[in-house]
């Protein structure tokens, strides 16, 4: 399915949306997911997911300046496109609809 959105991809889209455009590159995106989920994330898997999302037109990227701190390598900055924002809204709407009316999930924290 061309517009299928996996959990990990949804998390990445949300992480990119949370970050300012200058800060939305590999390390902060991975850190945001690690802090939220409490599990370690491979940087390569973040890039693989971002490239899938870019191929679908849900994120775009641009290369930044290269810096000495990064061994002369440039950062690749990402941002969520309008199409990507629409897809996140659809996913949220679907999840909320599925959530509603389930007694076991109402109240409590577990």
């Amino acid at each position: 399915m061309a517009d299928h959105l996996k959990d990990f991809e949804l998390m990445i889209l949300l992480a990119v949306l949370r970050l300012d455009e200058d800060e939305a590159y590999g390390v902060p995106i991975a850190t945001a997911i690690e802090q939220t989920t409490g599990r370690s994330v491979a940087l390569a898997s973040v890039y693989a997911a971002l490239e899938r999302l870019e191929d679908k037109g849900w994120v775009s990227s641009r290369m930044g300046e290269s810096t000495a701190q990064r061994g002369g390598r440039a950062k690749r900055h990402f941002r969520v496109t309008a199409k990507g924002v629409r897809r996140v809204r659809q996913a949220k709407s679907a999840l909320v609809k599925m959530w509603m009316g389930i007694r076991e999930l109402q109240g409590g924290t577990t």
Partner: protein, 200 residues
């Protein structure tokens, strides 16, 4: 105490074997994290994961090219190895006997034949290097197992010669493919494959 610079071999592998579209930013991120206190073991683990993920992605998105790369790599490597060792074995065999000659020439020639196939595949399939290495290793392992089983059952070949085959197919040839791929990647630029990052 941790060395100041991240492992250069790991960086070189990543930059040579993963498409430039991904590798530049990823290497920068890894260096940034390493400078921030991550260990060398973490760095190597991230590089290994990147190679595995890249190979998986190549296999899924470019199935035909991936199969072609494995076939081209195996056929060129095996053909070169067969012809060069046959010729050299006959030539050197005049002086030291046929079997010792094979031992003398087989190891370096199989390495260089595999390196040549790695170089050819790297140049003709810029995005399939990790996959060709893994594919080559799997195909070579299956063939080595079949050849060894055949010789053991039907030819009663001595164990040392079988060990020799296994060393060549499992270690020497894959290392040759990797070395040839790294050699082929120097000066090769796959930026032409990248989307126009940052273009309006």
């Amino acid at each position: 105490m941790k060395p100041t610079h991240p492992p250069s071999l790991a960086t070189k592998l990543l930059e040579s074997l993963v498409p430039q579209r991904t590798s530049e930013a990823l290497v920068g991120d890894l260096i940034e994290q390493y400078e921030g206190g991550r260990s060398r073991r973490w760095y190597w683990w991230q590089v290994i994961l990147a190679l595995v993920i890249s190979a998986g992605r190549e296999g899924r998105t470019r199935k035909l090219q991936a199969v072609r790369a494995v076939v081209v790599g195996y056929v060129t490597g095996a053909s070169l190895c067969y012809f060069t060792t046959s010729l050299a074995g006959r030539f050197v065999g005049r002086f030291v006997g046929v079997y010792p000659a094979y031992y003398l020439v087989f190891l370096p020639l199989s390495f260089f034949s595999a390196a040549a196939s790695g170089w050819i595949v790297r140049r003709s399939h810029p995005r399939a290097m990790v996959l060709i290495w893994a594919g080559f290793w799997v195909v070579a392992s299956v063939v080595a197992f079949a050849v060894c089983a055949w010789f053991y059952v039907f030819e009663r070949m001595p164990a040392p010669i079988m060990v020799f085959f296994v060393v060549v197919d499992f270690i020497i040839a894959p290392l040759g493919v990797l070395a040839g791929g790294l050699w082929g990647s120097s000066g090769a630029n796959d930026a032409w494959e990248s989307p126009r990052l940052g273009a309006p």
